[in-house]
Symmetry: C2
Subunit: 124 residues, 2 copies
Protein backbone atom coordinates (compact mmCIF):
# COMPACT_ATOMS: atom_id res chain seq x y z
CA UNK A 1 0.00 0.00 0.00
CA UNK A 2 1.65 3.22 -1.05
CA UNK A 3 1.51 6.58 0.66
CA UNK A 4 -1.21 7.94 -1.63
CA UNK A 5 -3.50 4.94 -1.01
CA UNK A 6 -3.01 5.26 2.76
CA UNK A 7 -4.06 8.90 2.56
CA UNK A 8 -7.15 7.97 0.55
CA UNK A 9 -8.10 5.51 3.29
CA UNK A 10 -7.63 8.21 5.93
CA UNK A 11 -9.80 10.65 3.99
CA UNK A 12 -12.45 7.93 3.78
CA UNK A 13 -12.09 7.45 7.56
CA UNK A 14 -12.86 11.15 8.09
CA UNK A 15 -15.74 11.13 5.61
CA UNK A 16 -17.32 7.95 7.03
CA UNK A 17 -16.97 9.31 10.57
CA UNK A 18 -18.59 12.61 9.64
CA UNK A 19 -21.39 10.79 7.81
CA UNK A 20 -22.09 8.92 11.05
CA UNK A 21 -21.88 5.65 9.09
CA UNK A 22 -20.53 2.98 11.44
CA UNK A 23 -20.52 0.14 8.87
CA UNK A 24 -18.62 2.25 6.37
CA UNK A 25 -16.13 3.23 9.06
CA UNK A 26 -15.62 -0.31 10.34
CA UNK A 27 -15.00 -1.62 6.81
CA UNK A 28 -11.67 0.23 6.97
CA UNK A 29 -10.43 -1.82 9.96
CA UNK A 30 -8.81 -5.25 10.17
CA UNK A 31 -10.42 -7.84 12.45
CA UNK A 32 -7.40 -7.69 14.78
CA UNK A 33 -7.34 -3.88 14.88
CA UNK A 34 -6.01 -2.14 17.99
CA UNK A 35 -7.14 1.40 18.89
CA UNK A 36 -5.36 3.44 21.59
CA UNK A 37 -7.32 6.68 22.04
CA UNK A 38 -5.82 8.63 23.72
CA UNK A 39 -2.26 7.29 23.73
CA UNK A 40 -1.37 6.20 27.26
CA UNK A 41 -4.77 4.65 28.06
CA UNK A 42 -5.80 0.98 27.71
CA UNK A 43 -6.34 0.07 24.05
CA UNK A 44 -9.45 -1.35 22.44
CA UNK A 45 -8.35 -4.69 20.97
CA UNK A 46 -10.16 -6.52 18.19
CA UNK A 47 -12.93 -5.38 15.89
CA UNK A 48 -15.73 -5.80 18.48
CA UNK A 49 -14.12 -3.50 21.03
CA UNK A 50 -13.17 -1.06 18.27
CA UNK A 51 -16.71 -1.03 16.91
CA UNK A 52 -18.17 -0.38 20.37
CA UNK A 53 -15.79 2.54 20.77
CA UNK A 54 -16.77 4.15 17.46
CA UNK A 55 -20.47 3.43 17.96
CA UNK A 56 -20.32 5.56 21.09
CA UNK A 57 -18.38 8.35 19.34
CA UNK A 58 -20.81 8.48 16.43
CA UNK A 59 -23.92 8.32 18.59
CA UNK A 60 -22.81 11.54 20.26
CA UNK A 61 -22.68 13.32 16.91
CA UNK A 62 -18.93 14.05 17.05
CA UNK A 63 -17.39 15.54 13.91
CA UNK A 64 -13.81 15.71 12.65
CA UNK A 65 -12.22 18.68 10.91
CA UNK A 66 -8.94 17.99 9.12
CA UNK A 67 -6.58 20.89 9.81
CA UNK A 68 -3.69 20.05 7.48
CA UNK A 69 -3.05 17.50 4.73
CA UNK A 70 -2.57 13.87 5.81
CA UNK A 71 1.06 12.72 6.05
CA UNK A 72 2.23 9.45 4.50
CA UNK A 73 5.51 7.60 4.96
CA UNK A 74 7.86 5.15 3.26
CA UNK A 75 6.43 2.41 5.48
CA UNK A 76 2.90 1.20 6.25
CA UNK A 77 1.79 4.13 8.40
CA UNK A 78 0.23 7.54 7.82
CA UNK A 79 -1.20 10.34 9.97
CA UNK A 80 -4.09 12.78 10.16
CA UNK A 81 -4.17 15.94 12.27
CA UNK A 82 -7.59 17.33 13.11
CA UNK A 83 -9.97 18.81 15.64
CA UNK A 84 -12.86 16.78 17.05
CA UNK A 85 -16.03 18.66 17.93
CA UNK A 86 -18.18 16.83 20.44
CA UNK A 87 -20.68 17.21 23.24
CA UNK A 88 -19.60 16.48 26.82
CA UNK A 89 -22.46 16.60 29.27
CA UNK A 90 -24.08 20.00 28.70
CA UNK A 91 -21.37 21.76 26.72
CA UNK A 92 -19.50 21.62 23.44
CA UNK A 93 -15.85 20.69 23.38
CA UNK A 94 -13.00 20.70 20.89
CA UNK A 95 -10.14 18.19 21.12
CA UNK A 96 -6.97 18.67 19.08
CA UNK A 97 -5.64 15.30 17.91
CA UNK A 98 -3.09 13.59 15.68
CA UNK A 99 -3.87 9.98 14.71
CA UNK A 100 -1.15 7.59 13.57
CA UNK A 101 -2.64 4.69 11.58
CA UNK A 102 -0.82 1.54 10.51
CA UNK A 103 -2.09 -0.61 7.64
CA UNK A 104 -1.86 -4.37 7.10
CA UNK A 105 -1.05 -6.07 3.78
CA UNK A 106 -4.76 -6.02 2.83
CA UNK A 107 -4.88 -2.24 3.18
CA UNK A 108 -6.91 -2.37 6.39
CA UNK A 109 -6.15 -0.31 9.50
CA UNK A 110 -4.42 -2.60 11.99
CA UNK A 111 -3.47 0.07 14.52
CA UNK A 112 -4.70 3.53 15.42
CA UNK A 113 -3.02 5.69 18.04
CA UNK A 114 -4.64 9.03 18.91
CA UNK A 115 -2.26 11.60 20.37
CA UNK A 116 -4.01 14.09 22.62
CA UNK A 117 -3.53 15.01 26.24
CA UNK A 118 -5.63 16.64 28.95
CA UNK A 119 -4.49 20.07 27.75
CA UNK A 120 -5.67 19.37 24.18
CA UNK A 121 -9.34 19.45 25.17
CA UNK A 122 -11.12 22.78 25.52
CA UNK A 123 -14.65 23.87 26.31
CA UNK A 124 -16.24 25.98 23.58
Amino acid sequence: MDSIDMKKALQEYVDAFNAGDLDRLMSLFADEARVEDPVGTPPKIGIKEVEAFYAESLSGGSKLELLVSPRGSYGNAATITFAVYAQLEDHSIRIDVTDVMTFDSDGKIISMQAYWGPDDMQKL
Copy 2:
Protein backbone atom coordinates in the same frame (compact mmCIF):
# COMPACT_ATOMS: atom_id res chain seq x y z
CA MET B 1 6.83 14.16 32.31
CA ASP B 2 3.39 15.58 31.72
CA SER B 3 1.79 16.60 28.45
CA ILE B 4 2.56 20.31 28.91
CA ASP B 5 6.26 19.66 29.60
CA MET B 6 6.52 17.45 26.51
CA LYS B 7 5.04 20.25 24.41
CA LYS B 8 7.51 22.74 25.85
CA ALA B 9 10.35 20.41 24.84
CA LEU B 10 8.91 20.17 21.32
CA GLN B 11 8.65 23.95 21.04
CA GLU B 12 12.29 24.16 22.15
CA TYR B 13 13.13 21.56 19.46
CA VAL B 14 11.57 23.80 16.80
CA ASP B 15 13.23 26.95 18.17
CA ALA B 16 16.69 25.34 18.46
CA PHE B 17 16.36 23.91 14.95
CA ASN B 18 15.38 27.28 13.49
CA ALA B 19 18.23 28.99 15.36
CA GLY B 20 20.60 26.55 13.65
CA ASP B 21 22.00 25.68 17.10
CA LEU B 22 23.13 22.04 17.01
CA ASP B 23 24.29 21.88 20.65
CA ARG B 24 21.01 23.31 21.89
CA LEU B 25 19.10 20.83 19.71
CA MET B 26 21.16 17.81 20.77
CA SER B 27 20.72 18.67 24.47
CA LEU B 28 17.09 17.58 24.04
CA PHE B 29 18.04 14.01 23.07
CA ALA B 30 18.96 10.97 25.17
CA ASP B 31 22.28 9.24 24.42
CA GLU B 32 20.40 6.19 23.14
CA ALA B 33 18.04 8.21 20.94
CA ARG B 34 16.63 6.66 17.78
CA VAL B 35 15.52 8.82 14.84
CA GLU B 36 13.50 7.38 11.93
CA ASP B 37 13.10 10.15 9.32
CA PRO B 38 11.15 9.40 7.22
CA VAL B 39 9.27 6.44 8.74
CA GLY B 40 10.04 3.33 6.70
CA THR B 41 13.74 4.10 6.19
CA PRO B 42 16.69 2.84 8.29
CA PRO B 43 16.86 4.71 11.62
CA LYS B 44 19.74 6.70 13.03
CA ILE B 45 20.62 4.98 16.31
CA GLY B 46 22.53 6.61 19.16
CA ILE B 47 23.44 10.23 19.76
CA LYS B 48 26.38 10.25 17.30
CA GLU B 49 24.30 9.15 14.33
CA VAL B 50 21.48 11.47 15.38
CA GLU B 51 23.86 14.42 15.69
CA ALA B 52 25.34 13.75 12.24
CA PHE B 53 21.82 13.71 10.80
CA TYR B 54 20.88 17.06 12.35
CA ALA B 55 24.24 18.64 11.54
CA GLU B 56 23.52 17.99 7.87
CA SER B 57 19.95 19.35 8.13
CA LEU B 58 21.07 22.52 9.87
CA SER B 59 24.02 23.14 7.54
CA GLY B 60 21.56 23.35 4.65
CA GLY B 61 19.63 26.12 6.39
CA SER B 62 16.37 24.17 6.68
CA LYS B 63 13.60 25.82 8.70
CA LEU B 64 10.51 24.42 10.40
CA GLU B 65 7.09 26.08 10.48
CA LEU B 66 4.64 24.69 13.02
CA LEU B 67 1.21 24.50 11.38
CA VAL B 68 -0.98 23.55 14.34
CA SER B 69 -0.50 23.26 18.10
CA PRO B 70 1.58 20.32 19.36
CA ARG B 71 -0.42 17.33 20.61
CA GLY B 72 0.36 15.64 23.92
CA SER B 73 -0.90 12.34 25.30
CA TYR B 74 -1.58 10.48 28.55
CA GLY B 75 1.67 8.56 27.99
CA ASN B 76 5.26 9.60 27.27
CA ALA B 77 4.78 10.74 23.67
CA ALA B 78 3.75 13.93 21.89
CA THR B 79 3.60 15.18 18.30
CA ILE B 80 4.34 18.22 16.16
CA THR B 81 2.95 18.88 12.69
CA PHE B 82 4.88 21.27 10.50
CA ALA B 83 6.33 22.14 7.12
CA VAL B 84 10.09 21.99 6.50
CA TYR B 85 11.53 24.50 4.04
CA ALA B 86 14.85 23.38 2.59
CA GLN B 87 17.13 23.56 -0.41
CA LEU B 88 17.52 20.49 -2.63
CA GLU B 89 20.17 20.94 -5.28
CA ASP B 90 19.21 24.14 -7.10
CA HIS B 91 15.64 24.57 -5.90
CA SER B 92 13.59 25.20 -2.77
CA ILE B 93 11.35 22.49 -1.39
CA ARG B 94 8.63 22.12 1.20
CA ILE B 95 8.05 18.85 3.04
CA ASP B 96 4.90 18.31 5.10
CA VAL B 97 5.69 16.26 8.20
CA THR B 98 4.31 14.99 11.51
CA ASP B 99 6.89 13.97 14.12
CA VAL B 100 6.04 11.61 16.96
CA MET B 101 8.51 12.00 19.83
CA THR B 102 8.82 9.71 22.85
CA PHE B 103 10.46 10.87 26.07
CA ASP B 104 12.46 8.93 28.66
CA SER B 105 12.17 9.32 32.43
CA ASP B 106 14.75 12.14 32.36
CA GLY B 107 12.60 14.14 29.93
CA LYS B 108 14.93 13.53 26.99
CA ILE B 109 13.78 12.49 23.52
CA ILE B 110 14.41 8.76 23.19
CA SER B 111 12.59 8.26 19.87
CA MET B 112 11.62 10.46 16.96
CA GLN B 113 9.58 9.19 14.01
CA ALA B 114 8.96 11.57 11.11
CA TYR B 115 5.90 10.75 9.02
CA TRP B 116 6.21 11.97 5.45
CA GLY B 117 6.09 10.17 2.15
CA PRO B 118 7.27 10.86 -1.39
CA ASP B 119 4.05 12.76 -2.09
CA ASP B 120 4.58 15.07 0.90
CA MET B 121 7.55 16.81 -0.74
CA GLN B 122 6.95 19.57 -3.26
CA LYS B 123 9.14 21.90 -5.27
CA LEU B 124 8.47 25.56 -4.60
